[in-house]
C-alpha cells in the first residue's frame, strides 16, 4: 500500500524538523515511524537537498498567507 508511504511523506512535508531528523538517520527513522520495509529503498533514495528545500518551502508557506498551491 502506498498509503503508508504517503503518511510517511506527509510527516516529512509537514515539519522541516521531522525532515531533518529523517535525514540524520534515515533507516532508523523510517523503521521507527512504521514505514513498511518494502518502501525503505524509496525513502533511502530521497535527494536530501530536494527534501530540505521542499520541507522548508512548505513550512514557509504554512506560516505565510499565500494560497496553498
Amino acid at each position: 500500500m502506498s498509503a503508508a508511504l504517503e503518511v510517511f511523506l506527509a510527516r516529512l512535508y509537514s515539519s522541516a524538523l521531522e525532515a531533518e531528523s529523517f535525514l540524520r538517520e534515515r533507516a532508523a527513522y523510517a523503521r521507527a515511524a512504521g514505514l513498511p520495509e518494502k518502501h525503505l529503498p524509496d525513502v533511502l533514495a530521497i535527494d536530501a537537498a530536494s527534501l530540505r528545500f521542499t520541507a522548508q518551502s512548505f513550512e514557509y508557506k504554512r506560516r505565510g498567507s499565500a494560497n496553498p498551491r
Binding site: V7, A10, S14, A49, R62, A66
Partner: protein, 293 residues
C-alpha cells in the same frame, strides 16, 4: 464587447482576488472569464454568494479548489467535497477545478500541495476520488498539474505518464498550469516544450499562467519556485503559443497572482500577451492543417 482571441472559443481572464476587485469591475469588458478560489468562500456571507452568483451571470466564472487532495491513495476529504459541491450549486460556475495533489495523510495536514508517488496505488486512488467528486458536485473537475521541487519518492512513472493515466482513467479535462510545468522542467533539467508535448493536449480545456522566482537551496542549487508573486515570464507565453497550436479545444486562460500586485495596466498587458500567444498558436494550427490537407 470583450476582445476575443483568434479562436472565439479561447478566452482570457483573471483569478479573482479581493485586492483586484475594483479594477476587475472597472475593466470587466476586457476580461473574458474569472476564477474564484473556492476555499476562500466556504464561509462566505449570503450577500457575497449572491454577488458571486451575479458575477457568474456577467462573465464565465470557474471555481478553483485547492485542498481536496484528489491525487492520493487515500479518500478525498468528504466534508470539503460537500462544501465545494454546495458552492458550485449556489454560484453555478461555468466549471470547477482541483489539483492533482495530496495534501494530507494519516491525519497530518501538509498545508500545501504535494506530489504523491507516481505509482499504481495513487493512480487508482485518484481515479476513485475524481469519481467521488464528480458524483458529489455533479460534474468532473478540471484537474491541474502541480509544481514540485522533489521527485515523489516511490514513483515508478514520470509526472507526464502519471497525469496522462489519471486523465485517461477519469476522462476529466486538464487544467494545465504552464508555470508549474515550466518550474518542474527547470528544477528537473527537462525541456518544457517536450514536457508539454508529452501531455494529452486534446484534454486541455483550461490554463493557468503565473510567475515565480529563482532561489538557491542549501546546497547552492538554483530552484524555480512558483510563488504567484511575480509576472508570468516570457517562456510561459511561448508555451501558451505552443499549446494553442496543438490543443483541439477552446482554452480558458487564467492569470494568477497572489501578492505584490502590479498596477492593473500591467495585468491588462499580460492578458494582451496571452491573447497574442493564443492567436499566434491558433494561426499556426490553421497553417499546419491547411498544409496537411
Amino acid at each position: 464587447m470583450r476582445k476575443l482571441s483568434k479562436s472565439a472559443c479561447d478566452r482570457v481572464g483573471l483569478a479573482w482576488r479581493d485586492e483586484l476587485a475594483v479594477d476587475i469591475h472597472i475593466h470587466l469588458q476586457d476580461i473574458d472569464c474569472l476564477e474564484i478560489l473556492a476555499d476562500h468562500e466556504f464561509r462566505a456571507s449570503r450577500q457575497r454568494i449572491a454577488a458571486l452568483r451575479e458575477l457568474a451571470r456577467q462573465v464565465p466564472l470557474s471555481l478553483h479548489s485547492v485542498a481536496l487532495g484528489l491525487a492520493s491513495s487515500g479518500p478525498v476529504d468528504e466534508k470539503r467535497l460537500a462544501r465545494v459541491a454546495e458552492l458550485v450549486s449556489r454560484i453555478e460556475p461555468d466549471h470547477w477545478s482541483e489539483h492533482l495533489a495530496f495534501v494530507r495523510a494519516g491525519g497530518l495536514e501538509i498545508g500545501h500541495l504535494a506530489a504523491a508517488p507516481y505509482r499504481p496505488e495513487t493512480l487508482e486512488g485518484a481515479v476513485r476520488n475524481v469519481e467521488r467528486a464528480r458524483r458529489a458536485v455533479g460534474s468532473l473537475p478540471h484537474l491541474e498539474n502541480i509544481a514540485t521541487s522533489i521527485r515523489p519518492p516511490g514513483s515508478v512513472w514520470s509526472e507526464e505518464q502519471f497525469v496522462g493515466q489519471v486523465l485517461h482513467g477519469t476522462q476529466a479535462p486538464l487544467l494545465l498550469d504552464l508555470h508549474n510545468l515550466y518550474a518542474n522542467a527547470w528544477n528537473f533539467g527537462r525541456d518544457p516544450v517536450e514536457l508539454l508535448r508529452a501531455l494529452p493536449l486534446e484534454q486541455v480545456r483550461s490554463v493557468h499562467l503565473s510567475g515565480g522566482c529563482v532561489v538557491r537551496d542549501a546546497a547552492g542549487v538554483a530552484r524555480l519556485v512558483d510563488d504567484h508573486f511575480h509576472d508570468p515570464p516570457e517562456v510561459v507565453f511561448d508555451l501558451l503559443q505552443v499549446l494553442a497550436a496543438n490543443a483541439t479545444r477552446g482554452l480558458t486562460v487564467i492569470i494568477e497572482r497572489d501578492g505584490q500586485f502590479p498596477d492593473f495596466r500591467a495585468v491588462l498587458r499580460q492578458m494582451a500577451l496571452a491573447r497574442l500567444a493564443l492567436a499566434r498558436g491558433r494561426e499556426r494550427q490553421l497553417l499546419l492543417r491547411s498544409a496537411a490537407a
